[in-house]
């Protein structure tokens, strides 16, 4: 069964057609990779899922429910989380606080006037936050201010924040960009584990083919705003259209 169903999505910025008749269908419980040269429209496509952009035409359905016209926080509350290409974290707060916020958002919904509770005495939130930080190997950095983290750590923090929400669908925009080889491998293991243990569906934009072929069960190739191929990984390797797109976009 497909959890995310995208049909005929078009989006243009002025004269630039960033997305043209994009169709995409993400199966529940799988990792679906979206690859393509820079500027192909991959991030723009994700923006259309989370309420950051509204497509000019087309439909985006999540669990059979249309996401179009919903506000960003409403979309997130239905179970879609996203890790951004440039990390979006609460840079003035500590790592620990960063992780607690999605825990609160998950428990209390989009608004809760709990002005007289104490953060300190919220045991369940603390347990969950500690847990999340262990999952991404950041427990030792929990009291650091987020802005002082390395780029790779910021991304892992953002991943922990998204996972803390127990999303049904996790969107990842180049999760390993800027990471060292070892960290990249850790991330691959982490994502694989998440999929196995928690059965979270994932859509991953990735340039690193090692990551893509280690994880993905399905791959869509985007070039100049259109999906040129959607197929299993083994069929993507050496696909002439894909090679053409990459070579054509490379120079």
């Amino acid at each position: 069964m497909s959890i995310l169903e995208v049909q005929n999505v078009n989006k243009s910025f002025g004269g630039l057609k960033a997305l043209q008749n994009v169709n995409l269908s993400v199966e529940e419980g799988t990792i679906h990779a979206i690859i393509g040269p820079n500027g192909a429209g991959k991030s723009t496509l994700l923006n259309c899922f989370i309420g950051k952009l509204i497509p000019d035409t087309g439909t985006v359905n999540f669990n059979g429910q249309s996401l179009l016209g919903m506000k960003a926080h409403e979309i997130n509350q239905t179970g879609v989380s996203r890790v951004f290409q440039t990390p979006e974290i609460f840079s003035d707060l500590t790592v620990y606080e960063n992780v607690m916020i999605p825990c609160f958002a998950k428990r209390d919904g989009s608004f809760c006037l709990n002005a007289l509770n104490r953060v300190k005495s919220e045991a369940e939130i603390h347990d969950k936050a500690e847990h999340m930080m262990e999952d991404v190997n950041m427990a030792d950095k929990k009291d650091m201010v987020a802005s002082s983290l390395s780029r790779g750590d910021k991304r892992r923090l953002e991943m922990a924040m998204c996972l803390a929400q127990d999303p049904q669908l996790l969107l990842l925009d180049e999760p390993t960009a800027g990471m060292a080889r070892a960290d990249t491998n850790n991330t691959i293991d982490l994502l694989a584990e998440i999929q196995n243990k928690r059965h979270i569906t994932m859509a991953v934009i990735e340039h690193d083919m090692h990551v893509v072929f280690s994880l993905a069960q399905k791959i869509s190739v985007l070039a100049q705003g259109t999906v040129i191929v959607e197929d299993l990984p083994e069929n993507i390797k050496g696909h002439p259209k894909v090679q053409e797109a990459y070579l054509g976009g490379a120079h």
Binding site: I89, L93, I101
Partner: protein
């Protein structure tokens, strides 16, 4: 010493209560131990604490908070005129009306952020100010200001036969009654009005502390650092900012109500945007986003306003009389720009200095100095860079 207190809220609270209650004794040697000034410390302290809940936590810079202060004052005076001279109903009404008013203005203004939000609040405040002077004269008594009169109904109070205006009271305890003690040639004044304001300040501070430490407060801080992320985390930021706006509006209403309690009149000039600017100055000067900062900033400004504006050229000549005449005259001439009526010049300069060099306010300055002294003492131990050295809370 501040870090320790930050980590230990109970200590901070006790320390604060002690400072406030002992104010008349502690401040008497500095010439600030008289009721009028002490009351102003408390009132502006409350105003600044409330403003800080909005600006310090969410980063929304309102230039219109004086409007809520003014509304609070008007509501309180009306309560004194119509119902009773007891301060409690007056304060309740002041807080409620200011809350409703801020709900309305906040609801509209918070649809925008950044400078647009600042300008919207500014426009609303200026509009209220103009209206208070013109059409609303039946309610505000225009330029004269709203005052008590002998033939006000005051339906709950016994008929006034004394022929003079009644004074505000707390269940019979008159606000302006003062007990004076002389001790070693110093006069200590314990005033009912001050202690009433002091209790309000302590309550206001306690509530602010609870908000700072609550999940709600955490969300407000998150709004300040990355509103987008919060939206993509499933949080609807608008009601949070609106709640913060209304809470801070209610604080301003309480401060305005207290102003009327200590001196039962209300005028439109309290609503002008320069008055809004003043609370911004207090908060930034003390340290926005910190708990103690705004109170310190308010006390600092009100204290030095009082001291500086009393200094005149004669006083200066007295201070520098030990210098040769020419030099004395020169120094006095330079300094006289900064004292007396020139106090605002000093304030403006100080404020600029703080924004330029100490964005965390005086509290940050203090903690830098403390760190520096500590660093000197333990120069042998390795210096670990501490990301928490900013007094974030």
């Amino acid at each position: 010493m501040f870090d320790k207190f930050q980590n230990n809220d109970r200590m901070l609270m006790l320390f604060f209560i002690f400072l406030v209650l002992a104010g008349p004794i502690l401040l008497a040697p500095f010439g600030a131990g008289y009721p009028d000034l002490l009351q102003r410390f408390c009132i502006f302290g409350i105003f600044a604490i409330g403003f800080n809940i909005l600006f310090g936590l969410t980063g929304y810079l309102s230039f219109g908070h004086a409007a809520f202060l003014g509304v609070g004052s008007y509501s309180a005076v009306w309560m004194f005129k119509l119902l009773t001279m007891n301060v409690i109903p007056a304060l309740i009404l002041a807080v409620i009306i200011a809350g409703l008013f801020s709900l309305l203005i906040g609801f509209i203004s918070l649809r925008r952020s950044g400078i647009y939000f600042s300008i919207l609040t500014l426009a609303f405040a200026q509009m209220s100010f103009s209206l208070a002077y013109s059409v609303l004269t039946p309610i505000t008594n225009g330029e004269t200001g709203l005052q008590l009169t002998l033939d006000d109904p005051r339906i709950l109070d016994a008929a006034n036969t004394s022929g003079s205006l009644p004074s505000t009271n707390f269940f019979g305890l008159t606000m302006n009654s003062t007990a004076k003690f002389e001790f070693f040639g110093m006069v200590f004044q314990f005033n009912v009005g001050f202690y009433f304001c002091a209790v309000m300040l302590i309550l206001a501070f306690y509530l602010a502390m609870r908000i700072f430490r609550s999940p709600f407060g955490l969300m407000l801080k998150a709004i300040k650092t990355n509103q987008n992320r919060l939206n993509y985390t499933g949080v609807n930021t608008r009601p949070y900012t609106l709640a913060a706006f209304v809470i801070s509006g209610m604080y301003a209403g309480l401060a305005g109500g207290l102003m009327a309690c200590t001196d039962p009149l209300a005028g439109a000039e309290r609503m002008q945007w320069t008055a809004s600017g003043e609370v911004v100055l207090m908060t930034i000067l003390g340290g926005s986003g910190t708990l103690l900062g705004p109170v310190l900033g308010a006390g600092f400004i009100k204290y030095f306003e009082n001291i500086f504006s009393k200094i005149n050229e004669n006083v200066l000549h007295g201070w520098f009389s030990f210098l040769p005449d020419g030099l004395e005259d020169l120094i006095v001439w330079v300094l006289h720009f900064f004292v007396g009526k020139g106090w605002h010049l000093t304030l403006g300069l100080l404020f600029m200095m703080v924004v330029i060099f100490l964005p965390g306010g005086l509290l940050q300055g203090a903690s830098h100095i403390i760190d520096w002294i500590r660093g000197k003492k333990q120069s042998s131990s390795t210096q670990i860079s501490n990301p928490n050295s900013m007094p974030a809370e």
